[in-house]
Amino acid sequence: MPNSEDRTPADTLMHAPGTSAITPARVSDIAVEVTRLCGSVRASAHLLAFSDEPGDFRAVLDRRPS
């Protein structure tokens, strides 16, 4: 592992907390997975307005009286 001063941004990401047991062989699979997940989010991001926030979800559920 390179010294922290020698690390590239990619090295830093690959040595984030929790990742030490991830083998190099797994990294490419994970990259595909993360690309897919982020791609789904970004493909729907046009639905978002500047003021939309996560807490709006509770209000949506409460909107309609049952």
Binding site: T19, I30, R36, L48, F57, R63, R64
Partner: protein
């Protein structure tokens, strides 16, 4: 349990306890006997606590003798997924990591069931950390299907479904983050209810994904589910996501003669179903229509975006909560669970937050467009027949192939965790291999009573839920 006793529903057992024809001790002994028998072949329990259960049953009987009956759950033997904390007791979460972890608090749902007088006979097997739709577990062994041990039970609340199907408990609690109540309920021929997000407190329930976790009941009938939901639902100062909405009297909403006044949207989803499942779906729609429901065909939007955006939330939250153990104890996870979590370590925070923001927007859109003009949405529980234990073991099979299979198994379920809408899995037939089939009903927010009313009417006209698996 005598044959007559084992055939009782929770509500019937409660009635016999109330009028003195049965005692809690007798019911508990009967359930314990069945629990031991079923455990030997299906591995549905992690721990059976006969001594504690019988002590509680004796106490409940003494109360009844003194004229104090707490309600319909008084003296009723139940068992729950091993992820609901009880102070001073180990809750394994189906994991090796928590095998010796003693809980410091008691889950709100357990406190409420205790207050209602229920008797807990043990803790139930589950997928490791509630992750996995099949019921495999390398630490405690796989839980197997109640109807055929060669097949999976479904997960992650595997033991909850099998124990209820096997008449080892009159009801059970589970949790559902992506299908984990409804899929095992479907595979084992029992009713599994995922309530609206916030209807039931999550306090003291081991988390899988804080935003998508739902706690709910398993039982053999809608009526029994109503009794269990009544006891556990409602606001909780220990869970800020628990809704302040008043809890209706669910049982009072049941017993309708028919489904008149109810409009059920039948999903046209474009997904190829197994032939047995397709036939069962059509038959269930015909039955609901015959019972008086107005049926309307609904073109279902593509749910894959809701599926994937929801997956982003699960992965991000799971990675955050497991990060420390992934660093210090990676060898104590199964490969399948560790693989499912690891991707979340690399998700940009902005994408996770956008996924949460999208949840509100996409849920509002789904309710306004797809649920408009209907009370309930009818949709298959799953497009695929139950896999065998051998063919779906991620520790021995190609993980990418199986992850694709798991996505297909939960295709019709996971989006409703993202939307937070209530959904119930309803037994509606059997495959040519003799395994249970089920449909789902999805409701508007906080419309559990409407859903249970529909299932109650359906069950009084059909007998699929009366089938009892044999060992």
């Amino acid at each position: 349990m005598s044959e007559d006793c084992s055939a009782l529903d929770l509500a019937e057992a409660a009635a016999r306890l109330a009028d003195g024809r049965l005692t809690s001790v007798a019911l508990t002994e009967a359930c314990l006997t069945r629990a031991r028998t079923w455990q030997a072949s299906r591995n549905c329990f992690i721990h059976i606590d006969a001594e504690s259960a019988l002590a509680a049953a004796r106490a409940r009987d003494e109360e009844i003798k003194r004229g104090h009956r707490r309600g319909p759950l008084h003296g009723i033997p139940l068992a729950h997924k091993d992820m609901f904390y009880r102070e001073g007791r180990v809750s394994t979460g189906g994991s090796r990591i928590l095998r010796d972890e003693i809980a410091k608090t008691t889950a709100t749902v357990l406190r409420r069931l205790d207050a209602a007088g229920a008797v807990e006979i043990g803790t139930l097997n589950m997928s490791e950390f509630a992750a996995g739709p099949t019921g495999h577990n390398i630490h405690y062994g796989p839980c197997r299907n109640a109807y055929d041990a060669a097949y999976v039970s479904g997960g992650s609340s595997s033991g909850s479904a099998v124990a209820v199907a096997g008449r080892a408990a009159f009801g059970a609690l589970g949790s559902d983050t992506g299908a984990s109540i409804r899929l095992p309920a479907a595979y084992n021929g029992v009713v599994g209810l995922k309530p609206t997000y916030g209807r039931v407190s999550r306090h003291g329930a081991m988390p899988r994904s804080w935003s998508l976790d739902h706690v709910g009941p398993f039982a053999r009938t809608a009526w029994d589910c109503a009794l269990l939901l009544q006891a556990i639902a409602g606001a909780d100062p220990d869970d800020s996501t628990a809704s302040m909405r008043p809890v209706p009297d669910y049982a009072a909403m049941l017993g309708a003669a028919d489904l008149s006044g109810l409009t059920i949207g039948v999903a046209e989803h474009g997904v190829t179903l197994d032939l047995d499942i397709a036939a069962a779906m059509q038959a269930s729609v015909r039955q609901l229509e015959k019972l008086g429901a107005k049926v309307r065909r609904i073109v279902l939007p593509d749910l894959s975006a809701a599926f994937r955006v929801g997956e982003t939330i699960i992965k991000g939250e799971a990675a955050a909560m497991h990060r420390q153990w992934l660093e210090t104890r990676p060898q104590d996870y199964s490969n399948s669970v560790r693989f499912r979590i690891e991707g979340g370590l690399y998700l940009p925070a902005t994408d996770y937050i956008d996924a949460l923001r999208l949840r509100a927007v996409m849920t509002a859109q789904f309710i306004a467009e797809t649920m408009a003009g209907i009370d309930l949405l009818h949709i298959p529980a799953t497009p695929l027949l139950t896999p065998t234990v051998a063919e779906s073991d991620m520790e021995t099979k190609d993980s990418e192939t199986l992850l694709t299979l798991f996505s297909r198994l939960t295709h019709f379920m996971r989006p409703f965790n993202f939307f937070g809408l209530p959904a119930v899995s309803v037994p509606c037939g059997f495959s040519s291999a003799g395994l249970p089939l089920a449909y789902q009903l999805v409701g508007h927010p906080f419309s559990e009573g409407v859903m249970l009313r529909a299932v109650d009417v359906y069950q009084r006209a059909t007998d699929f839920h009366r089938a009892a698996p044999q060992l």
